[in-house]
């Protein structure tokens, strides 16, 4: 039985895809008779099946070495493209995590999308993401990972664009698609270049190859930079981070999935590629640098946001930056652990704030307040989520951050401080958001804000329970450090950074006497953070401007120069024909003259050699 479950593990993504296909009939036509909901229930059922299958397979694969399963796909002209699957407890575990979170997101969506007609589209897109992420987890080949990332880019476009009649949604979807696509195409360049050099795309074989590979530093650097560009787009790292913020215009249930695991797809590929990236010191430094800049920059921006969702979205970028740092400093396991602990906590935070987006009047942090008594479940979820996210012992991320900090402590101490700062800033940021929403007195906009109904509360409670149990799980999996080797100093530093962040945050935002809105001393600096380092403007004056200008120039050249020449030739022909017609006058004398001219011309040309000799004779 367990063997069968493992051999059929490739079915896990297929369940979701079946859901996609089955919801096709609920395109607008049939909704009139059944309503949009059956499509959602079908997908929910499929996800549940996938979850159960994954759970059983996880039990079966426990303590077993990783197995390979190869599915043939295309074999053409000497290029064999087979899909290698790696079945190990980690990969199957990731599918369980993804299906579980999608299950919760879908239940949440029953409540959140209550009044929406687009269920079929929404649920099938969620299912597409589930299928994509599960296959990404199982797939052991860079090429197919690239393919999946590219499909998910399209998925993001459609999912963010779900409510396509709102202008902000349309631009958000566009930017998400194009930004991610930039990353994807650079990744494609890397994928194309890697095959002739390494001869394989299989991650395990690549790791083997990287041990003995001797390639020129330039090639290694270019290749590595192309390969990290894809994850940079997916993980919303500077300078490709803007899309995540704009994607917040999409529905919250998709945000749950996006902020927790979809952004992590890039990090996953990055982790898998780590041996190849390590070939070039430049690439690892760039990885670390991008991660560090994003982590600090995004946590600062997060503090300056007033939108409930956007503030969280920048925290996502910041944590992905930490993952980049972990990969850049060769700590793949720590990166994976951080991804796990982070995903659960972030999903919980998004669920909690999403509830306010759903039935609050506003999602502006400055106009909310005092919801603690009205929304106890949301508030508790928020607290648990925040503790899970921060370095607060004994919750999940503490252990991951501690391991990260521990290694950095000995090797690269400046990065250790980066982690501390990010943790402190994030602590301040989440406390600020908590204070603005739940603490203080209720304001005009937060008077009528009851707790959400069960489809949204249930997943919150379940996830809250799970987040609280993460330390136990880590302990069970022996991922917790030994007491004897525990770096107490690093732990103390980490915890104090959390305490300072939360403390300052509480001092300002849990304190009714502190005047609000809080101003940073220097207004341009605050604007710099509030407007996201002016990234949209930066895009507009650089890449968007250049592409627009060049395309207009090319188009003008095409219309006036290339086509102009063609039309000019046509006109010239017509004109010369028109003018020549006046030669046909009907007068005999004119024709005789023409004949005479013709004859003279002919005689001269035919006797030309003779004439030349004649002239030589005449004028010696």
């Amino acid at each position: 039985m367990s063997h069968v479950l493992l051999q059929t593990v490739w079915l896990i993504p297929c369940y979701a895809l079946t859901g996609v296909i089955l919801s096709i009939p609920w395109s607008p036509g049939i909704i009139r008779y059944t309503g949009p909901r059956p499509a959602g229930y079908i997908n929910l059922l499929m996800t549940l099946t996938a979850f159960i299958h994954g759970l059983l397979a996880l039990r079966a694969t426990w303590d077993l070495p990783a197995q390979q399963l190869v599915i043939p796909w295309v074999n053409v002209a000497g290029l064999e493209l087979s899909i290698p699957l790696e079945i190990s407890s980690i990969t199957v575990g990731v599918t369980v995590l993804v299906t579980f979170l999608n299950l919760l997101a879908q239940i949440y969506a029953i409540g959140y999308m209550e009044m929406d007609w687009g269920w079929a589209r929404f649920y099938s897109l969620l299912a597409l993401f589930e299928a994509g992420m599960c296959s990404l987890a199982l797939c052991n080949s860079l090429f197919f990972s690239y393919m999946i990332l590219e499909v998910l880019t399209l998925g993001t476009y459609l999912l963010v664009g779900l409510w396509f009649s709102q202008p902000l949604v349309v631009t958000g979807a566009r930017d998400a698609f194009l930004t991610k696509r930039v990353g994807d195409l650079l990744l494609l360049m890397g994928v194309l270049a890697l095959l002739p050099i390494a001869g394989t795309w299989n991650f395990s074989e690549l790791a083997e190859w990287a041990k003995t590979a001797h390639i020129s530093p330039t090639t290694a650097a270019l290749l590595g930079l192309a390969l990290i560009a894809g994850p940079m787009g997916k993980c919303a790292q500077f300078p490709l981070h803007l899309w995540l913020d704009e994607a917040m215009e999409g529905p919250v249930p998709s945000t749950i999935l996006r902020n927790s695991v979809v952004v992590a797809t890039g990090a996953w590929v990055l982790v898998k590629l780590q041996p190849v990236l390590a070939l070039s010191p430049l690439v690892t430094s760039v990885t670390v640098l991008v991660g560090a800049v994003t982590a600090i920059g995004a946590s600062l921006i997060a503090i300056a946001q007033i939108d409930i969702k956007r503030s969280l979205s920048y925290t996502v970028s910041a944590y992905m930056g930490l993952v980049f740092i972990a990969v850049g400093t060769q700590q793949a396991e720590v990166a994976l652990m951080l991804l796990l602990t982070y995903a659960l906590a972030m999903a919980l935070l998004v669920m909690s704030t999403g509830a306010i987006v759903w039935n609050g009047i506003t999602q502006d942090l400055t106009q909310l307040g005092g919801l603690w008594s009205r929304r106890p479940v949301s508030a508790l979820s928020y607290i648990v989520g925040a503790f899970g996210l921060l370095a607060v012992p004994p919750f999940g991320c503490f252990w991951a951050l501690l391991q990260l900090a521990d290694r950095l402590w000995t090797n690269e101490s400046w990065l250790f401080w980066v982690v501390l700062i990010v943790n402190g800033l994030t602590a301040f940021s989440v406390t600020r958001e908590f204070g603005s929403i739940f603490a203080g007195k209720s304001k005009a906009m937060s008077q009528r804000a009851p707790e959400v109904h069960w489809p949204m509360a249930l997943p919150m409670i379940i996830l809250m329970g799970l987040t609280l149990h993460v330390p136990l799980l880590l302990w069970q999996w022996q991922l917790l450090p030994d007491w004897t080797t525990l770096n107490i100093t690093a732990a103390v530093f980490l915890v104090s950074s959390s305490v300072i962040g939360c403390g300052v945050g509480s001092l300002i935002y849990l304190n009714n006497n502190w005047p609000k809105p809080v101003k940073l001393g220097y207004q341009p600096l605050q604007d710099l953070f509030a407007y996201d380092f002016y990234t949209p403007q930066l895009y507009r004056v650089t890449i968007v401007f250049v592409v627009g200008l060049v395309s207009n120039i090319i188009s003008a050249i095409d219309r006036y120069l290339v086509d102009g020449i063609v039309n000019f030739v046509g006109l010239a022909t017509m004109f010369s024909g028109q003018s020549l017609k006046y030669n046909v006058s009907g007068q005999t004398q004119f024709y005789a003259l023409t004949i005479l001219f013709g004859v003279i011309l002919l005689v001269i040309t035919m006797t030309w050699p003779l004439l030349i000799r004649l002239s030589l004779v005449l004028s010696p």
Binding site: P28, L79, L178, L188, V547, S551
Partner: protein, 501 residues
């Protein structure tokens, strides 16, 4: 076996043309019947085709005009078979989607069938003069199709098309005559033609004539100016045939008569051709971004995608050439669905202007299915995996990368630019808020939906299982590449790295 592919449409054209009292509906039914027979015949051919045989199959030979060495010699191999299938399929779809309010229906359907016959003849003919004959014959029906059923500037567009392609014909005829007369035994028979013994300079001159001639047809920058006008002014069905079938004659000719007949000269010219391909791709993509007319945008996208095919042909590795053939098929399918949907939008909404179109995805008042399929078509064109455009583009890029890394990377960037203009198109056309006061669009009929659904199904199926697309051409391509002498130039800096490891 092969003759019916040519003769059924010819006879069908006569039947449609001379059937008494041809209403649009009746003419259409007859034409559908004829096209269905041709399509079924093509399917039967597919089933009988021996994939492992790289050479010509089902050859037919009838002596015709001996003194001219013009003989009726037909054959099909892995290069022409997929294109023949596309020809039959697209003709069927175009006829099927023919409007019921068509003026002069008998003439229209007869011309479409003649186009089908001419293209099929050109793909089949194994005699250079015969190929040229078919190649030129289609000009007349196409000219009429554009000039009679086109848009406002149809006469200008049709004349431009005619002049350009006539020049293309002259160049190709000149090259063919040169090939036959300069070789030791004057012949036009494809398989016995030997050009390898000519001096390289002569070969280069002949090859230049062939490349320029077919580049007009494909078309490649800067010989493309007939295309935006012709594609935009032609009715959607004719545009599908122009882009999906006729342009493929150009790429087919490039491989068949350029690459295969002049291997040495081709190897010499390849770096230039690769750059030309990259330039076409960039030029087409950037021009498309600046367009305001969705049909024109799709037309320019076609130029961009043709650049990939030239790049792949220039690289001439087995992988890139299989990619080129599959890109020809993929491009035909994608272009067909895009032109068809743009045509549907134009007839229902009444405009093709990006600034006026809005919110067509709206489920009740808009055109949700059409919009959904448009997203699919656009994304297939932008090379999203899982759709047929991806695998073709990917093979082209991977196959060409080791030979010409820089042009290949430029083409990757163009793939991103493709996404840019399709996102512009989809955002403006499908997304956005539909104005409820003006949105009273006629319902989309099944007759208009079916062709798009068939194409969408093909795009998806061939994208998920590309083997069904790739397997036809592989042995033929291998045979072509095996006779290709020069691979020395294909060593790029990156592969040198791997050799030194």
């Amino acid at each position: 076996m092969l003759s019916p592919l040519f003769w059924i449409p010819v006879l069908g054209a006569a039947l449609v043309g001379f059937w008494p009292g041809g209403t649009p509906a009746r003419s259409r039914s007859i034409a559908i019947a004829v096209a269905s027979i041709t399509l079924l015949w093509t399917f039967w051919l597919l089933s009988q085709f021996d994939i492992s045989n790289p050479g010509m199959q089902f050859t037919e030979f009838i002596p015709w005009i001996e003194p001219l060495k013009l003989n009726y010699r037909l054959g099909v191999d892995g290069l022409s078979l997929p294109l023949l299938f596309i020809n039959s399929l697209l003709t069927w779809l175009v006829i099927y989607s023919g409007s019921t309010q068509l003026t002069r229906p008998q003439f229209y359907y007869a011309l479409i069938l003649l186009v089908n016959a001419g293209v099929a003849g050109a793909f089949l003919s194994q005699n250079l003069l015969l190929f040229f004959l078919f190649y030129e014959i289609e000009l007349i029906p196409f000219y009429l199709l554009i000039a009679v059923w086109g848009g406002k500037k149809r006469e200008y567009a049709a004349m431009k098309f005619l002049l350009f392609t006539a020049i293309s014909g002259f160049l190709i005829l000149g090259a063919f005559l040169g090939m036959a007369w300069l070789s030791e035994t004057p012949t036009f028979a494809y398989e016995s033609l030997t050009t390898q013994k000519l001096p390289l300079n002569t070969q280069l001159i002949l090859l230049t004539a062939i490349v320029v001639g077919f580049s007009i047809k494909i078309p490649l920058v800067p010989l493309h100016t007939w295309l935006p006008d012709a594609y935009t002014e032609a009715s959607p069905g004719v545009a599908i045939l122009l882009g999906g079938v006729l342009a493929k004659l150009g790429t087919y000719g490039l491989v068949r008569f350029g690459l295969a007949l002049f291997p040495d000269a081709w190897a010499t010219a390849a770096p230039g051709l690769a750059i030309l391909g990259a330039v076409s791709a960039v030029y087409g993509a950037l021009s498309a971004i600046a367009q305001k007319d969705i049909k024109r945008m799709v037309a320019y996208s076609s130029i961009g995608h043709m650049g990939y095919i030239l790049l792949a042909c220039a690289a001439a590795t087995p992988l890139s050439l299989v990619g080129a053939v599959s890109q020809m098929v993929a491009h035909s399918l994608i272009l067909a669905i895009l032109f068809h949907l743009v045509g549907v939008i134009e007839t229902k909404v009444g405009t093709r202007d990006l600034d006026l179109l809005n919110g067509l995805m709206s489920p009740m008042r808009g055109l949700p299915l059409t919009s959904g399929l448009l997203v699919l078509g656009g994304m297939a064109s932008a090379g999203i995996p899982g759709l047929v455009g991806f695998i073709a583009e990917y093979l082209v890029l991977q196959g060409s990368f080791s030979a010409f890394p820089i042009p290949t990377l430029i083409c990757v960037i163009c793939s991103g630019l493709t996404a840019v203009y399709f996102v512009i198109l989809i955002n403006r056309t499908c997304f956005g808020k539909l104005d409820n006061n003006t949105a009273y669009y006629p319902k989309v009929q099944w007759q208009e939906r079916t062709p798009a659904l068939i194409l969408a199904a093909l795009i998806l199926c061939l994208g998920i299982q590309p083997t069904w697309l790739l397997r036809w051409s592989e042995p033929t391509i291998n045979a072509i590449v095996a006779s290709f002498p020069a691979h020395s130039y294909q060593i790029a800096s990156l592969s040198q790295d791997s050799e030194t490891k």
